[in-house]
């Protein structure tokens, strides 16, 4: 047997992310502009970085308790209460993880396995489907529509539910569409889910990056609170991607079992990052607001630019992505992105990398400087004009 033959079927069968090849192409180009990287372009605010450094100077280099520093869990509990009106006991309802990504993986593994189905609305974060497959469960996709502003529709959930359905993954504000779900949008969803034994894994990493009203969590509905695992983190809100720190909140019985996987797999999240995260929650609000304000201005700038370039573009109200409709050019997502990169040296990620129904769209991020955005949009306009001529 070859090594490859010895590898588990469900690992081999999971395709690598479709984003990769574009990054390989752009790495060899000069003067290329990437609108492809899904992380803040801001450095972590200095007071947060300094607190991390200070913890190292004081020799805080040991493991923390598996669930995370109690001081941090208390801050997370306060934050969830203040920002989202969600109350979680720091003793047994909060698990500090290695980024939101680990929390997603652990939540899926806790609730779904072979023979189970997990509903994954698409287009969405590329890891959801993979994590479901690695857990041995079957992802059942829902195709979100531009005509619904990429919001989840109750009928779609009803259609996807079978007796095997164990969980549904909801990710709003959404990567890659920038869509958000508002209170009324959730109402109809809650009606479908409240009396069913289905766990909601709610990925709310982009919660702070909401540009219309305040972020709504499905866990705010009392009938959904116990059945929902809320996942949040520091990467997007506080520009702390490289620190790898996030958290999951939920019912004590769920968190207890998730903690088991977490402690056997990786012990605890990085200690330095945990100390930095405490500072982020205590004193980071002003910096969050500054960054959100700037993202918002770039968001408006970019949406306007795509529309002026002749591409339909529904208004994204969250995260830091714009998801323009390419269909008027007659090109597929892949053709558009490949030619745009080769002819104008601008990288966008084809929408189908986030699920088949993302075909006809592409993702651009405004987590880059305004100068970059301005230049990229000028090139995109030139490109679209040429195609449409």
């Amino acid at each position: 047997m070859t090594i490859k033959q010895m590898i588990k079927r469900n690992i081999l069968d999971t395709p690598p992310s479709g984003i990769r090849k574009y990054f390989d192409l752009i790495s060899e180009m000069k003067d290329a502009i990437s609108l492809g990287i899904g992380e803040p372009d801001f450095e972590t605010p200095w007071s947060i970085r300094e607190e991390g450094i200070y913890s190292l100077e004081k020799g805080k280099t040991f493991y923390t308790s598996n669930a995370g520093l109690m001081e941090l869990r208390i801050e997370i509990s306060n934050y969830m209460k203040d920002r989202f009106s969600l109350s979680y006991d720091p003793q047994n309802q909060i698990l500090v993880t290695v980024g939101g990504s680990e929390a997603i993986d652990v939540a899926i593994r806790t609730f779904a396995g072979p023979g189970d189905e997990v509903i994954v609305p698409e287009p969405s974060f590329v890891a959801y489907k993979g994590c479901v497959q690695f857990a041995g469960a079957k992802p059942v996709t829902i195709e979100l529509k531009a005509s619904h502003n990429f919001k989840l529709q109750p009928e779609q959930i009803l259609d996807a539910i079978t007796e095997r359905t164990k969980a549904i993954i909801i990710g709003y504000p959404n990567n890659p569409t920038g869509a958000i779900m508002e209170y009324d949008d959730y109402k109809a969803i809650v009606d479908v889910l409240k009396d069913r034994d289905i766990i909601v894994i709610s990925d709310e990493l982009y919660a702070e990056l909401t540009y219309k009203g305040r972020h709504v969590s499905i866990a705010q509905f009392p009938e959904m609170k116990d059945k929902t695992i809320v996942i949040n983190g520091f990467s997007k809100a506080f520009a702390m991607t490289g620190w790898r720190i996030g958290y999951a909140c939920g019912h004590p019985d769920a968190i207890e079992q998730m903690k088991k996987i977490h402690q056997y797999a990786i012990m605890c999240s990085p200690t330095t990052a945990q100390f930095a995260a405490i500072e982020a929650l205590r004193n980071g609000r002003g910096e969050v607001e500054r960054m959100v304000n700037e993202y918002n201005q770039r968001r408006l700038f970019m949406v306007n630019g795509f529309r002026k370039a002749g591409l339909d573009c529904y208004e994204p109200l969250g995260a830091f992505y714009v998801f323009p409709d390419l269909r008027s050019t007659g090109l597929s997502s892949d053709e558009f992105c490949e030619r745009l990169l080769k002819e104008e040296k601008v990288l966008m990620v084809p929408g189908n990398a986030f699920g088949a129904c993302g075909e006809g769209f592409a993702r651009a991020t405004y987590a880059t400087s305004l100068d970059n955005i301005r230049e990229a949009l000028a090139r995109i306009k030139r490109f679209v004009d040429r195609i449409k001529k």
Partner: protein, 160 residues
Amino acid sequence: MEKKLLNLLKSNARLSEEELAVMLDTTVEEVIAARKRLEEKGVIIGYNALIDWEKTEYENVTAYIEVKVTPQRGQGFDKVAERIYQYPQVSACCLMSGGFDLFVVVEGKTMKEVALFVAEKLAPIESVLSTATHFVLKKYKDNGVIFNRVSKDEREAVIL
């Protein structure tokens, strides 16, 4: 809207009115009117480029000068401040709390030129009691901008 406009212009005064309108989610007419209002009220006094003279071949020195003065009857510090800030060499002049009264920023081509200005113009002013001149040796940050920082995007390709 005015505050947001001011903040945007402070960070980049070269944004066009159309760009400002888009970013503030308003109309070009609104932006033009608001800017005109702010300029007429003297809220926006000017638009400067932020220059790192160190990187040029031109010589330029800056001195921060602490000045102690005797306030004049009926006019306080305003009169003497006026006598000082009229000089073109003076780029900033503020009334201060604490150990001295006026804080004066003077720019010139050479240290000698600035020192001569202090000795011949500033110090002899009647109500000036004393001056202490501090020359800037290196500028790390000015107007919220860090100098000599290479702004290179170091984010690596990551799949998400």
